[in-house]
Subunit: 348 residues, 2 copies
């Protein structure tokens, strides 16, 4: 870190959907940057990006790119992180990694700052940023867990295509135009780029995000399950997920059922736990049709919660509707929050 | 009924989304019709509709329209049914009503033929067709309930706009074009025509279907809860629903968690219960990315089930993904199935 408390930052995957958001937020939040380096694959290298009125050239990410870097923010896919994150650490950088490469490693903290900031302290050079659908859920559940205990979570997701990158946005837009023009829709990417079958996402719903695991769950579903337990420090939490891709561009929504440990609670009790919570905004009033939606949550950094209802049969059961921008709190903003906490607490 | 076993049929709401489907299916299935009468509101009366190569004129529905009618199929909204269904019964017709007007009346059978055909026998002139989102769920859950018992259901829905009628389809299409043209989206109908606030549905998700009840649930959610108990003859079933409107035209999808009563079951056990079930098609193979989607289920009359998974914590818990065309099995086809069973069994 430079004497002036400013840091040298590298953004890896600078031309991707999340990388673009990271650059936008670093600028907007006046992150204490001495120098910034924008890195990408060989294919995207050479692109020009404006940052704080300066035109920068994106360079190909290589091991030696990380000399003299204090913080490297990775979001260029798991294989890039696996290869280059250790190289960055070797050269003295702290890595905040936005892929699934290191999330479940025991010596890698997996952090949502509002939930488990203290876990940052024990880092060994790499900190993992959780999956988008996990972040917004644990941000909303942590205050409830803290106040009343939490024993069971059953979540069904409603996920935006941008979680699969800029190409997925283009595919949704193209298919939508094809459908409205009575042309056949061409599906080449979703649900999973590397998988054999592709289904149209426009005017459809695909119950597959990421590849299938041996137990019949998708990797996205297992990420939500395993990451939530790690972040909430709750290995015994019973948790299940069904993850579904839907035809909208931005923000994930989640229909979440929970069992709390404390009995006799009312909707008002859940509301008061959520009202005081960092980074959470309660939008819940049936009388005025107030509830969060993906469109309204887009381009905002908070996690929005509404439709809180008491289960009609289980006295410890509640239902919630949780919405947040998957590229901001679900990715770029949470990554930068982690970097901010590292700088502020001098945990670099 | 005429001597030749042919019946005189009236379709009320003949120009609506469901009415159009009813006419199409009556023709396609060669329903044993002697005479057909197409009825509508005053506003839509006079429209011309072709049925079996004959051009028919839609007439305004009035009490005297039902003289000499054997079966009247109503889908013109609850207030029309409340007013005219008793008039039709008074004139000797049996009414199959596709609105929520009579569904919870104790002396009105609420029927999905594959599930509770026998309930038809006790009718007093009116039979209710369940809500679209209910029909497909109970059709898939009945074989599981029958084989293994069922104690708990938690459902999150993914519902098509056509459930809100032809105007909602037009609104989705218009908003989609506006969005793609970078114009502001105009929202005038969804989520609920008569409610104060309207939100865009294009590229969005609305966690409100029908009006809010005093307990914070929407009427759609309470319909799913109460109707399922009645159809499954399971007043003690613990059941909760979260209903969400999404930007596609046809077919509802449902992410369903269930607790069965029998222990030690595997996914294969659930599969075998579903495989033999009337009107249900299993589409479930992670290895070949086989699962139902709304686009693939559209214009089909069956209920499709996939993504069957065993819960990772609760040994009696399973997850399912249930998809069906909301206008066909969810409305028109179930209505006509009821009429067919009435005719076949001479229960008119």
């Amino acid at each position: 870190m430079a004497e002036n408390n400013l840091v040298n930052v590298a953004v890896v995957g600078a031309t991707g959907a999340v990388g673009e958001k990271i650059i936008e937020i670093l600028e907007h939040k006046n992150f204490p940057i001495n120098e910034i380096k924008l890195l990408s694959s060989k294919r995207s290298a050479g692109k020009r990006v404006v940052f704080n009125q300066q035109e920068l050239t994106v360079e190909e990410a290589k091991p030696e790119s990380f000399s003299n870097i204090d913080i490297a923010l990775f979001s260029a896919g798991g294989s890039v992180s696996k290869k280059l994150a250790p190289e960055a650490v070797k050269r003295g950088a702290v890595v905040v990694d936005n892929t699934s490469a290191f999330r479940m490693d025991e010596d890698v903290p997996l952090v949502v700052p509002e939930v488990n900031e203290d876990d940052l302290q024990s880092h060994n050079g790499i900190i993992a940023n959780p999956n988008c659908s996990t972040i917004q859920m644990v941000a909303a559940l942590k205050p409830i867990q803290k106040a009343f205990g939490l024993s069971r979570v059953i979540v069904s997701t409603y996920q935006a295509v941008s979680g699969a990158g800029n190409q997925a946005n283009q595919e949704l837009e193209q298919q939508t135009r094809q459908y409205l023009n009575n042309e056949e829709m061409t599906a080449e990417l979703l649900p999973v780029k590397g998988d054999e079958k592709h289904y149209p996402i426009a005017f459809n719903a695909l119950p597959q995000i990421d590849v299938f695991q041996d137990n019949g769950y998708t990797f996205e579903e297992m990420k939500m399950i395993n990451e939530s337990k790690k972040i909430l420090h709750a290995q015994d939490l019973a948790i299940a997920a069904t993850c579904v891709r839907l035809p909208f561009f931005t923000s994930h929504a989640e229909s979440v059922y929970i069992d709390v440990e404390k009995g006799g609670l009312t909707v008002e009790d859940i509301w008061s736990a959520l009202r005081g919570a960092d980074g959470v905004i309660l939008q819940d009033d049936p009388n005025t049709q107030t509830y969060p939606t993906p469109l309204n949550a887009s381009n905002k950094e908070e996690v929005f919660v509404g439709r809180v209802r008491k289960d009609l049969d289980n006295t410890k059961g509640f239902h919630l509707w949780i919405v947040s921008d998957n590229l901001i709190k679900g990715a770029a903003w949470n990554t930068i929050q982690i970097a901010e906490h590292l700088v502020m607490n001098k945990w670099l």
